[in-house]
């Protein structure tokens, strides 16, 4: 029984950064901008979160700093893909190259040449540090970021499907020219969405560096951004769909940890492949059935159709 709750706890823990990353992907792609740079923005969020928390002693400052830093990196992507109609894939890839360099450079500059940050204060758990201690439910005392991720998913769903801004974002992602002729500023909508995307990715990074672990390391973010993108596709570009997909991917990571810890016959290196292999399998099974926003990845140039 206890290991069952452990499994759930770890699933929730590992799905949280994915959820933030995926929410970032959903909002960006819904407005018609592919954001392969989520991974890089998460890395930046991870260092900003750790540094912010370490220097102020307040993890919440770190969390907010991560959001701001992620959004700043996203601004680059927005300038390239919205204003310059650049190749969004190349721009995203460039950000994924730039961000780790920037993160490590910042880390070494902040912390006397070390490639990892010192231990920084962590964000609290939902029920406090010792909540449910001694009960079988101890592993359900999840990080506060886990709850935040769920709340953000609900808010995003509400905004996208129940408010005029959501209607506009979806219209811009499906048929920007139509939105433009109705006086909706396509560029502005896309800028806002890409910046939000960076903010969420930044939160995702921080939810690794100051919630799951308590420092920035070079390998804190290793492919989560890309798994989050797969979750966006699997989740049919909806906040709840993506949330569910992230739970699944989080579950495979939990399996890796739990199975890897025991006397299991499969070597840990092979087990470590599981989340990545799972992503491919899920894509094979579901990609044909989900349809991307029509204008996803296509730069909008005024006056052309």
């Amino acid at each position: 029984m206890e290991s069952f709750f452990l499994l759930i706890g770890i699933t929730l823990m590992y799905s949280t950064p994915l959820v933030f990353g995926a929410l970032g992907g959903v909002i960006s792609e819904r407005s018609g901008v592919t954001n392969i740079g989520i991974e890089g923005m998460m890395v930046i969020g991870a260092i900003a979160g750790a540094a912010g928390s370490y220097f102020t002693g307040n993890p919440w400052v770190g969390f907010l700093a991560a959001g701001v830093a992620g959004a700043l990196v996203a601004l680059l992507h927005a300038v390239a893909s919205v204003s310059f109609a650049a190749d969004q894939t190349i721009s995203g890839v460039a950000i994924n190259m730039l961000a780790p360099g920037l993160a490590l450079f910042a880390c070494r500059s902040f912390f006397e040449g070390a490639a990892m940050s010192p231990i920084a204060p962590k964000l609290p758990k939902v029920l406090g540090e010792s909540g449910l201690a001694g009960t079988p439910f101890v592993n359900l005392n999840v990080n506060v970021t886990t709850v935040l991720a769920l709340i953000f998913a609900i808010i995003m769903w509400f905004v996208l499907y129940r408010t005029k801004w959501g209607l506009r974002v979806r219209a811009v992602g499906e048929h920007p020219a139509a939105a433009d002729t109705l006086g909706i500023n396509v560029y502005k909508v896309r800028y806002v969405c890409v910046l939000l995307s960076g903010m969420f990715a930044g939160f995702g990074g921080a939810s690794v560096s100051i919630a799951i672990i308590s420092q920035f390391t070079q390998t804190a973010i290793s492919g989560q951004g890309f798994i989050a993108m797969a979750a966006v596709i699997f989740g049919k570009w909806t906040p709840f769909g993506a949330y569910g997909a992230c739970l699944l991917f989080g579950f495979t990571q939990a399996l890796v940890i739990i199975l890897g810890g025991g006397d299991f016959v499969v070597p840990s290196q092979i087990l470590s492949m599981l989340p990545y292999a799972m992503t491919i399998i899920v894509l094979v099974l579901f990609v044909g059935r989900s349809v991307a926003p029509k204008a996803d990845g296509i730069p909008y140039i005024k006056g052309s159709r």
Binding site: T163, L167, E174, H175, A178, T181, L182, G183
Partner: protein
Amino acid sequence: MEVSSEYAVQMHGIVKRFNTFTALDGVDLDVRKQTVHAILGENGAGKTTLMNILYGLYQADEGTIHMGGKEVAITSPTEAIEHGIGMVHQHFMLVENFTVTENIILGDEVCGAAGVLDMRKAREEVMALSNEYGFDVDPDARIQDITVGMQQRVEILKALYRGAEILILDEPTAVLTPQEIDKLIEIMHDLIAKGKTIIIITHKLREIMQSADECSIIRRGVYMGTVDVKTSSETELASKMVGRNVNLTVEKTPAHPGDVVLSIRGLTVKDDRGIEQVRGLDLDVRSGEIVGIAGIDGNGQQELVDAITNLAKAESGSIKMKGKELTNTTPRNTFVSGVATIPSDRHRWGLVLPFVVSENTVLERHVDDEFGKGINLDYDKLRSYTTDLIKQFDIRPVGCEDERMSGLSGGNQQKAIIARMVSSEPELLIAFQPTRGLDVGAIEFVHKTLIAERDRGAAILLISFELDEVMDVSDTIAVIYHGQITGTFAQGTVDENKLGLLMAGGEAK
């Protein structure tokens, strides 16, 4: 012309340049209130550019716009909407997976507190508006599920919802059946009676005669004058539009049909969404004849062509080329069996735009030894082969062998496709919307080439959404409706009313 409050819109001396190209060169337009004013011109003459300026999508480099006697500056669609201008674009500006109501309110939403949508109220408003004009639209239907005619009404409702007094309709009839066109003209007259003003962009003369009060003509960006439609004729309008006397009929000798070349039996094809679009279709095309398929877009034409060219899988039935089975083989097999196809969307299917012209002329034939032995591709051969085609088919600019295809005009791109297809001397030539977006001169060229190919002995399958084209060019006219051929007639034995009825699913009498 004097600026006066009698006019809903007056645009004077409009000049618009795109880099070095002058799209509009001092164009005037004076539209009286409560009239239907047509703007006539060939494809690329600048009609749509002029209207995009009025709608604020482009800014004019020179010129003035007055509305009701007052000068206005329109720098964005939002301002155009504020001035009571609404525009229905040729390619509908509708979000396919949104409902009718969502499309109509987009950008001017009905909201409660904090931007939360009030869909119930929005729906009521849309219903009220639809009923007022007798539009009969379903506010909850998704755009992708309703007919093109309905979609057009949604577009008009969108403009009316925003309080439009002046409606711009860009090529509104291009996709409609004759019956739907009649209904549209009825709606237009109804709108005029309720105080609206309508500007209609078109290159179809008959509709102007039927619906418009006045007509302004633009030729290659130059204003050619405005005529009173009542005192004018189709031929007068046509010569003003093209700048020379044009022959509106297609000249050809009677056909001498030979053996059946293409034979289709019981063909069933599904589209990407798994819906049957071709439903047990039978069709024969003989050598030396042009079979034209009339029908509204979306009745299985695309899937029929896809099945013949083996781009789509046939669920059942057979397609035979001179007795040889083509069904569910490969596109390559279709081509080597003697079928060449002019696709409907030349940019999507017909050309590799970043390739140079000479690379584009051998998309099928590059595998032939003629263009290099083994793995080698002989670019000199490619070039000399293309030079011949350029001469033979008058592709411009001369000497464009090494220029990117994207740099050629639409008409010349189409000529390049036709040259490539015809030069393989096919036994069956499929022409799917071969004149889409072309001007009168290029259309004539395409029609003449089709007839010449027929006279060479090829079988021609012409599929077009333009009923006039089918009626003028074909020797045999077949109507496609709901994935089946619902009637076959020899040219001259059927009128457009009867065809229109069949195209809309009515019974032939």
